[in-house]
């Protein structure tokens, strides 16, 4: 599948997803070199168009683009485009006039990257770096990359340079716990993990699951302890909970949330001994994840951050050159 933009995890079929993960393995070897740079995107310009602050994601994309020798422009626009008097259309057409080669978009409104890609305002590939409560597809890819490495070894691609397909996540069970309703990470992960053959279990209070979640390719449980016992997951992914949600009656208070859906030390022990602990960050220690879990040798949180650069290099490379690998 030739990708023109990466807007949603559903843009990726199994083959393309595996190819991107394999390409990311190649990119990861760059990080181990003395000169951490490839000339692949020399002379190309990538814009980080951020309508919402996210230093972590912006830095990850910026590092990825720079390691591919691209020029990077950071374009921060605050608030809704209408209120500041410049429409999304004007912004897009400005970027088109500048001749940019790729646009990484972060936006507080669901669907803004789709609109940029589909309204005909600019031709450049668009990468969704998180839109509202919709999707964050590169986060799902880096989570899949991280899981694939711990489940299948490092590198988890086919023998490097042979072009052989790497493995997918068939047979793995991944539990995603917490505020699925407001989580773009969860939406992208359910889709990507399913595409790669993993079984997905969502665990959350019903208030934090979207209406219609039963149409998603996953199972849904409300009780975390029962779900851990039932599914013996290979990995649990804890979602960040925003404590303001309790003021909107999604749950009574932080203490009850932590007691019922937090990854406590006891629940860490209840997990299979070889289960991995993931979190897209930033973590609320003591709320959705205990220090014991966050700091345990099973935690992959820092691997996720490190792998983000390689996965974003692969995505930029694939979209801007139209190639799967060198």
């Amino acid at each position: 599948m030739a990708l023109t933009s990466l807007l949603s995890a559903s843009d990726l079929d199994r083959r393309t997803a595996v190819e991107l993960l394999d390409l990311a393995e190649e990119m990861a070897t760059v990080a181990g070199r003395e000169v951490k740079k490839l000339p692949a995107l020399r002379g190309r310009t990538v814009v980080n168009l951020f309508f919402e602050d996210s230093t972590r994601t912006r830095i990850s994309f910026e590092a990825a683009a720079k390691r591919l020798s691209a020029d990077v422009i950071n374009f921060a626009a605050k608030g809704s485009s209408v209120s500041k008097g410049e429409s999304l259309q004007d912004t897009a057409q400005t970027l088109a006039a500048m001749g940019v080669d790729g646009v990484v978009v972060r936006h507080p409104g669901s669907g803004a990257p789709h609109r940029l890609a589909q309204a005909g305002w600019l031709e450049a590939p668009i990468i969704n770096a998180g839109d509202g409560t919709h999707e964050h597809p590169t986060q799902a890819l880096l989570d899949a990359f991280t899981l694939r490495r711990v489940l299948h070894g490092e590198p988890a691609s086919g023998a490097a340079g042979t072009g052989a397909d790497g493995k997918d996540l068939a047979g793995a069970t991944v539990m995603i716990v917490g505020d699925v309703l407001h989580s773009r990470v969860a939406r992208s992960n359910v889709r990507t993990l399913h595409t790669l053959g993993a079984s997905v279990v969502l665990v959350a209070p019903a208030t934090l699951l979207p209406w219609g979640v039963e149409s998603w390719p996953c199972q849904v449980r409300y009780d975390l302890d029962e779900a851990i016992a039932e599914f013996a997951p290979d990995a649990v992914m804890m979602l960040r909970i925003q404590l303001e949600r309790m003021h909107q009656a999604f749950f009574p208070n932080a203490r009850e949330y932590t007691r019922l859906w937090g990854l406590s030390a006891a629940r860490l022990h209840a997990l299979p001994a070889d289960a991995w602990v993931m979190h897209p960050g930033p973590m609320n220690r003591g709320v959705e994840i205990s220090a014991a879990a966050a700091d345990s040798p099973r935690a992959l949180v820092l691997d996720q951050v490190a792998n983000g650069v390689a996965v974003r290099m692969a995505t930029l490379y694939h979209l801007l050159t139209g190639e799967d690998s060198h």
Binding site: S87, Q89, H114, R115
Partner: protein, 438 residues
């Protein structure tokens, strides 16, 4: 002015001649030599259409629409009367503002503009607007609505329903429970779950309708439900009517045919309130149109300047234009439904809204002496909807590119041809005068 309309199929029946003299229908042959003869071979004659729900934006948002441009759009759509919603700036919540809109309508003269007054001051939902003053004004307001907002306070709604009984008024409710729809962007369903857009649950409409039909029956008041959008709402209205409540209900053309699947494009042209619902909802609405549960098809014509739609979904304004394409879209939406003929079009788009709104010169039959508000429709005029071909200032038409086969040929407003052969002619010459029949 004497006009002969030659060979029109009245309500889709046998071809016959229609004669107009001095603004009223005349006995065929009695009018003498006509000033204008319109060849209506193959055309359908209907009573002029009445749109119970339009947003003309004036005063306040003349960049979106004016009474003049909206009236022209109405004439082109075959509407000889429109009811203008109160959510202008300033709000139409005093005699002064409703008289201003009414006067602007008379000065335009392309259609009959009947203002709707606000239920609550400033549409704020906290205290009643000057309902009696608006009723007694030159505009003679009979319908009150906070449309755009729901009269959500149950006690205030009860009082409003009761208060307007004194002058045969009626409340038209925009049924949307506000707490259940905070931040809502689209229908709550499997599509919103996937798209990550905050959902607008059907129950938020149905809960208000259920409450209000009970209140209306309790106090013996008339209640009109604006833009019904869900299958559950239809069930509640059907039940309320079976109990004898004085309820009427309207549906928009777009809710009869468009569904929330379209939101997958994130194209704000599909952003509207109430939101596009599911295919099952649309099917239930079409059935309710056929069986009489829904009384009126009204457009909720809501023009917006381009900058409010050329942006991301979440920042975009809600609303669609509709007057100029309503008839074609209704025919398209109902094409598979047996029993939906021209008489049904006349019932839902002219007779019922004219009766509910209390417009005696509108929604009439074709007997001599009736006011000559007539639209001639060409049922065999295949064309593609082009939002640029519009007298409305709004281009936010979700039917852009849709193939339809029905076109408005001519519109006669109190005996005067405001549209002939699809083209605007001239406004009614006497609309500014006291002798105009309104």
């Amino acid at each position: 002015m004497r006009i002969r309309i030659a060979g029109a199929r009245v309500l889709g029946g046998q071809a016959q001649d229609i004669e107009i003299a001095d603004g009223r229908l005349a006995e065929p042959g009695s009018a003498g030599r006509p000033d204008l003869t319109v060849d209506a071979d193959g055309l359908i004659a209907l009573p002029g259409l009445v749109d119970m729900h339009v947003h003309l934006r004036e005063p306040g948002r003349e960049d979106a629409e004016t009474v003049e441009t909206g009236s022209r759009a109405a004439a082109r759509g075959g509407f000889t009367a429109v009811l203008a919603m109160a959510n202008t700036q300033p709000t139409a919540d005093t005699a002064g503002v409703v008289e201003q809109v009414w006067r602007l309508g008379r000065e335009s003269g392309w259609t009959q503009v009947q203002p709707i007054g606000a239920v609550t001051a400033g549409l704020e939902g906290t205290r009643l607007a000057e309902l009696g003053a608006m009723a007694r004004s030159a505009a003679g307001v009979r319908i009150f609505s906070d449309d755009g907002h729901c009269v959500s306070d149950p006690l205030l709604m009860r009082r409003a329903l009761e208060y307007v009984k004194g002058f045969d008024g009626m409340i038209a409710q925009h049924a949307q429970e506000p707490r259940l729809t905070e931040g809502a962007q689209m229908n709550e369903g499997v599509v919103s779950a996937e798209l990550g857009l905050p959902g607008w649950p059907a129950a938020a409409e149905e809960a208000i309708i259920a409450r209000d039909v009970l209140l209306a029956q309790h106090v013996g008041a008339r209640l009109h439900i604006c833009h019904v959008s869900t299958a559950g709402s239809v069930e509640i209205i059907r039940w309320a009517k079976s109990r004898g409540a004085r309820i009427t209900a309207e549906v928009t053309p777009h809710h009869l045919i468009l569904t929330d699947d379209l939101v997958r494009s994130y194209d704000p042209v599909y952003k509207v309130n109430p939101p596009l619902r599911t295919a099952e909802d649309a099917a239930a609405l079409r059935q309710a149109v056929l069986d009489g549960t829904i009384d009126v098809i009204a457009t909720d014509h809501a023009p917006h300047p381009a900058e409010h739609k050329c942006c991301e979904w979440t920042a975009a304004a809600m609303g669609m234009v509709g007057m100029e394409t309503a008839l074609a879209v209704v025919r398209l939406a109902m094409r598979e439904e047996e029993g939906f003929g021209w008489d049904q079009v006349a019932r839902l788009m002219s007779r019922n809204p004219a009766r509910i709104a209390g417009l005696p010169g509108q929604g009439h039959g074709f007997e001599p002496g009736a006011h000559a508000n007539i639209v001639l429709v060409d049922p065999g005029a295949p064309h593609t909807i082009d939002p640029a071909d519009s007298a409305s200032l709004g281009r936010n038409n979700p039917f852009a590119g849709t193939e339809v086969d029905t076109a408005v040929h001519s519109t006669f407003l109190y005996g005067h041809p405001v549209v002939l052969d699809g083209e605007l002619q001239a406004p009614h010459p006497a609309s500014k005068e006291d002798t105009w029949p309104l």
